[in-house]
């Protein structure tokens, strides 16, 4: 059995841990083993990378070193962390000058980046175990109409994410169907949630979110399913403000794919802290 190093990331670990709770319970049901490590921030591909690319590379490489020391692959619960760790690995493997520069810095703290482990996004690991997922589903969510939002950093840039089609993703759709739910098509599936731009230019972030949610509404979805904590927060916390700004009610429940799975596997909403969501899920819709 493969044991992964769990990379829960800052947002899930230190802000919305209920997502980690659901993920750990689902991993147990599916037989995905994990252990912890003293990882720092990945660091953020929209924040720290924009702040200083060398810092991003060096801190990212240090995190990879921690997993390399234990000869274990990383499983990331977050699009941003997966994007950073895969991106750092890609840039260092394809640019010997960058690698030498980063290793010179790492040598000063007694570390060396080798590139000897893999970084996996958790949805790709779930996809590899799809048969076990289906066996663990005891309460199929038939009748639930789901709008999938895989999020930018899970699939782009394709050159280093190598996970899914960057403009026509399918993995999250397959995972949702495995829970017995129905996936709805909507025009703006690959549109960004707008989390990064919202930090500096809220009006543009809101206008973008409106485009996204109007498209989901048109498709008749009951819930939005995501696999990134930044997207989760953007949808879960911004809908109230959006409703005020545009004088139109937006209240789509937002579920992490592992929360959807937990419910389909018979785990109670209390056990996974569903009450900590801002948006409310109508349990009767679950079928």
């Amino acid at each position: 059995m493969t044991e992964y190093k769990m990379f829960e990331g800052c947002t899930i670990g230190n802000r919305i841990p209920f997502i980690e709770a659901a993920s750990r319970k689902v991993f147990d049901k599916v037989g995905i083993e994990t252990s912890q490590a003293p990882f720092t921030c990945c660091p953020d591909p929209t924040g720290m990378k924009s702040f200083d690319n060398n810092a991003w590379l060096t801190i990212g490489a240090r995190n990879l070193c921690l997993a390399e020391a234990e000869e274990k692959d990383i499983i990331s619960l977050c699009n941003g962390c997966a994007n950073t760790l895969r991106g750092v690995q890609h840039q260092l493997k394809h640019d010997s000058l960058k690698k030498a520069k980063v290793n010179k810095e790492l040598a000063k703290i007694g570390k060396e980046f080798k590139g000897s482990i893999e970084v996996k996004h958790f949805v790709d690991v779930l996809k590899e175990n799809l048969n076990k997922v289906k066996e663990a589903v005891t309460k199929p969510l038939s009748g639930l109409k789901v709008a999938c939002h895989p999020g930018c950093h899970y699939m782009r840039p394709a050159e280093w994410m190598e996970s899914d089609d960057p403009m026509r993703p399918t993995t999250l759709r397959e995972l949702v169907k495995a829970a017995g739910a129905t996936v709805v098509d909507y025009e703006e599936e690959v549109l960004c949630c707008g989390s990064a731009v919202t930090n500096a230019y809220q009006d543009y972030g809101m206008a973008n979110l409106k485009t996204k949610l109007d498209s989901i509404e048109k498709a008749g979805a009951d819930v939005i399913v995501v696999n990134c904590p930044a997207c989760f927060q953007q949808f879960d916390t911004m809908q109230r403000d959006l409703s005020k700004k545009y004088e139109k009610e937006y209240k789509f429940p937002v579920l992490y794919i592992t929360e959807l799975y937990a419910l389909a596997m018979g785990i109670s909403p209390d056990e996974i802290g569903l009450k900590f969501h801002r948006t409310r899920l109508d349990m009767e819709k679950l079928g």
């Binding site: 829960e8 947002t11 670990g13 230190n14 841990p17 209920f18 980690e20 709770a21 750990r24 912890q36 003293p38 720092t40 921030c41 660091p43 953020d44 929209t46 924040g47 720290m48 990378k49 924009s50 702040f51 200083d52 690319n53 060398n54 810092a55 060096t58 801190i59 240090r62 840039q91 394809h94 640019d95 810095e105 790492l106 000063k108 703290i109 930018c152 950093h153 782009r156 840039p157 394709a158 050159e159 960057p166 403009m167 690959v190 549109l191 960004c192 707008g194 990064a196 731009v197 930090n199 500096a200 230019y201 543009y204 972030g205 206008a207 973008n208 485009t211 056990e271 996974i272 802290g273």
Partner: protein, 168 residues
Amino acid sequence: MMIDFEFRKEVMDYHIGSDVIRYCYQCSRCTDNCPVSAVSKDFYGTTGYDPRQNILAALLGYKDVIFNADPLTIWGCTVCDTCDEVCPQHIELTEIFTFLKNKSTADGKAPDYLYAQAKAIFDSAKAIPSQPAIERRRDQLGIPPVVAPDVDELQTLLKNIGADKKLK
């Protein structure tokens, strides 16, 4: 408008695919597919965020067009990497925008949240520091505490590469 040849050379040297940026023929697929352009540009494209114009200015070395302008010129980018995928010339635009952003943070002209996040990472090694209320919630949810990272080691790295000097 002055051409800054040193800036131009930096752009060429920075890009991971060396000088691929030269092959930009200004087709505008980047801007046409940019979610922020979609909600910020007017019909004639005289205002708002425009990735195509940034690439043109960077590739020609017109540093002032980018840096002596509304910060939106640089910071409108939401890092969705859509432009990278639709570019017919395989230019990794987001990498070039990262270079522009890195210069902007060094000049002290980036939006506040970037400095705040970098400071949090410098101080605690996490973008979101651990808080007692969340630690209790983790315990209630039956999940183990987050393992504390080595803050000293991270600070050593950041100081050695000089990234700490950009902090506010």
